[in-house]
């Protein structure tokens, strides 16, 4: 019934682990960690639709990619853009696109919703791929990363991989906390009601369309945050960033991690990227590494079969069993 989250102690442990990681890791792994956390934000935003509202979108990369393009296109060529201006602008662009597209697609349901979200995302892909906009199919470089300067004070230097990592970590924690609040607030409860029984929601008086559209826009804006960070990290944006692959990958992360629970998409992002890194490493698997997608597909099918509620769902069940046993053990000790 209430949105499922992990116990606070586990969340704090996870944050500490992530915060301490750069002390141990080499630059490559720090960058990999930042990349995973960016994908985790993206997956969290998608799960607001898929897991919490019951809207399976296969075009979520559109908002991720639009924000990335927004940063690339408004950044000055040879100097740093101001993050305090460009981040809200990029998120607003993604949210606006989600508002316009959402207004049309949220009327549909089920398989039609999947198809039209995909169709709109592919239209945006073609727009960037086939026109000169944003450098066409070659894409566009961001020469200098945005600056976090505020009245002459610069808390973090995003050019530095470790500091960028911490910035992304802070963003991930913020998104997690905000979504946790939203899901417990009346808006989130209404979305859960829509997911559970849309007809009933309407007959008790909820304007279901407006709620779904609201969720779509919020999810678009948060995907925009992730896309902005991705563009920051790679310093390069091309049309692939909003292609349907990207939408598919993030949906896979959500399913792998377990939808409808906040820790699910985060775990899914970690699992997906790490499995991919492992399977595609020639140092580990030699010539087989070239065919990583084959192994990846098989592995995902296996995981979904064995863990129907994803990795997050598996952890939830394990935790419930553990606390149940503890209660039983305490009961036995008392009697």
């Amino acid at each position: 019934m209430s949105p499922i989250t992990l116990p606070r102690s586990l969340l704090i442990a996870a944050v500490l682990l992530l915060a301490l990681f750069p002390v141990l890791g080499a630059t490559f792994y720090i960058q990999l960690g930042a990349k995973i956390m960016i994908m985790a934000i993206f997956a969290l935003s998608l799960d607001l639709l898929v897991g919490h509202t019951g809207l399976v979108s296969l075009g979520h990369a559109a908002y991720f990619g639009l924000a990335a393009y927004a940063l690339a296109m408004i950044s000055p060529r040879y100097e740093a853009a101001n993050l305090w201006l460009t981040l809200p602008a990029a998120m607003a662009a993604a949210a606006l696109a989600a508002l316009v597209i959402g207004f049309l697609v949220v009327r549909t349901a089920g398989i039609y919703f999947i198809m039209v979200t995909l169709a709109f995302a592919q239209m945006l892909y073609s727009l960037f791929h086939d026109t000169k906009l944003g450098g066409g199919s070659d894409g566009i470089y961001i020469q200098v990363r945005p600056e976090l300067t505020l009245w002459g004070f610069k808390p973090l230097d995003l050019e530095n991989p470790t500091q960028f990592y911490y910035f992304v970590l802070i963003m991930l924690i913020a998104v997690y906390i905000i979504l946790n609040h939203v899901l417990h607030a009346p808006l989130g409860r209404a979305l859960a009601g829509i997911r559970a029984n849309e007809q009933r929601m309407r007959s008790i008086g909820f304007p279901v369309f407006a709620y779904k559209l609201g969720a779509f826009v919020l999810a678009g804006a948060l995907a925009g945050l992730a896309g902005y960070l991705a563009a920051c990290q790679f310093g390069f944006v091309n049309p692939d960033i909003l292609a349907w692959h990207q939408s598919g990958i993030v949906l896979m992360m959500v399913i792998l991690g377990g939808m409808g629970r906040l820790h699910g998409p985060v775990l899914g992002a970690f699992a997906y990227v790490l499995i991919q890194e492992f399977l595609s490493a020639p140092a580990l698997l030699g010539p087989y590494a070239k065919h990583w997608q084959l192994a990846m597909g098989g592995l995902i099918v296996m995981i979904v079969l064995v863990l129907p509620h994803g990795i997050g769902g598996f952890i939830d069940i394990a935790l419930r069993r553990y606390s149940y046993r503890r209660i039983q053990a305490n009961g036995a000790a008392e009697s």
Partner: protein, 252 residues
């Protein structure tokens, strides 16, 4: 014209060639329990779906509280003060009994709600939900999952959800369906109490309950009104006896 809260005028609905509801007119007044009876397939549930807005009418007008609501979506009708229950229990099975009612009450919160504030911290909404549960006698089951309630309790919960929206009109579609003796008795008492300060349109097969509760009875056959009047008039009506009640005279 009249003090009717709900008026249907010339309401029709056809599915393909079949006229499920055929040029039907009726009124429901405040404090008046209006029961609609009729054999299976008479169009009673279709009538409720037309009134609640879940089906668009093929023709005819629906006036609610003086406004023409014929073209309004179900959620808009609900917000004007219509509450409905379904023939087949329709609740949020995965949520607690209280959460079912809290959601219903939340739908009436006029202020734009804070994005980040916990839904359980809105005292007025929680109070309304608790009162609704209390009114149907489910207060002691508040934290139980709806799934874990008995069939009778689930039906009571559905009525509590309607009440949590503080409706003026209740459309009840066979609230006694599938209930045992004791549960039925409780439900009849509950509907009787609700009838004192709500307008109620009741579709029901349980004749004992209908004749006990209703002030006005409408008999529907094949989408049309066969007869309408007080329970005494309906009992005495020869057409009704012949067409619907059969020769057993179970109403006597």
């Amino acid at each position: 014209m009249s003090d009717a809260l709900l008026q249907a005028r010339g309401l029709s609905k056809s599915f393909g060639g079949l006229a499920a509801v055929d040029n039907l007119s009726l009124e429901v007044r405040v404090g008046e329990l209006h029961a609609v009876i009729g054999p299976n397939g008479a169009g009673k549930t279709t009538l409720i779906n037309l009134l609640s807005g879940e089906l668009p009418a093929s023709s005819g007008d629906i006036i609610f509280g003086g406004n023409d609501i014929s073209g309004l979506a179900p959620e808009k009708r609900a917000r004007l003060g219509m509450g409905r229950s379904y023939q087949k229990t329709n609740i949020f099975l995965g949520f607690s009994a209280l959460e079912n009612c809290r959601l219903a009450a939340q739908s009436r919160e006029p202020r734009p709600l804070n994005w980040l504030r916990n839904a359980l911290s809105y005292e007025s909404v929680m109070g309304q939900a608790r009162r609704a549960l209390d009114a149907v006698g489910l207060a002691h089951r508040a934290s139980e999952a709806a799934l874990a309630l008995s069939h009778g309790e689930q039906r009571q919960l559905e009525i509590a959800m309607c009440l949590a929206t503080e409706p003026r009109l209740l459309l009840l579609d066979e609230p006694l369906a599938g209930m045992g003796m004791e549960e039925s008795l409780k439900m009849v008492q509950l509907i009787g109490r609700l009838g004192e300060n709500h307008a109620i349109l009741l579709v029901e097969h349980d004749m004992d309950a209908v004749f006990q509760l209703a002030r006005v009875l409408t008999v529907m056959v094949d989408g049309k009104i066969l007869a309408s009047g007080t329970p005494e008039e309906i009992r005495a009506n020869r057409n009704v006896q012949a067409a619907y009640l059969g020769s057993d005279n179970e109403l006597r």
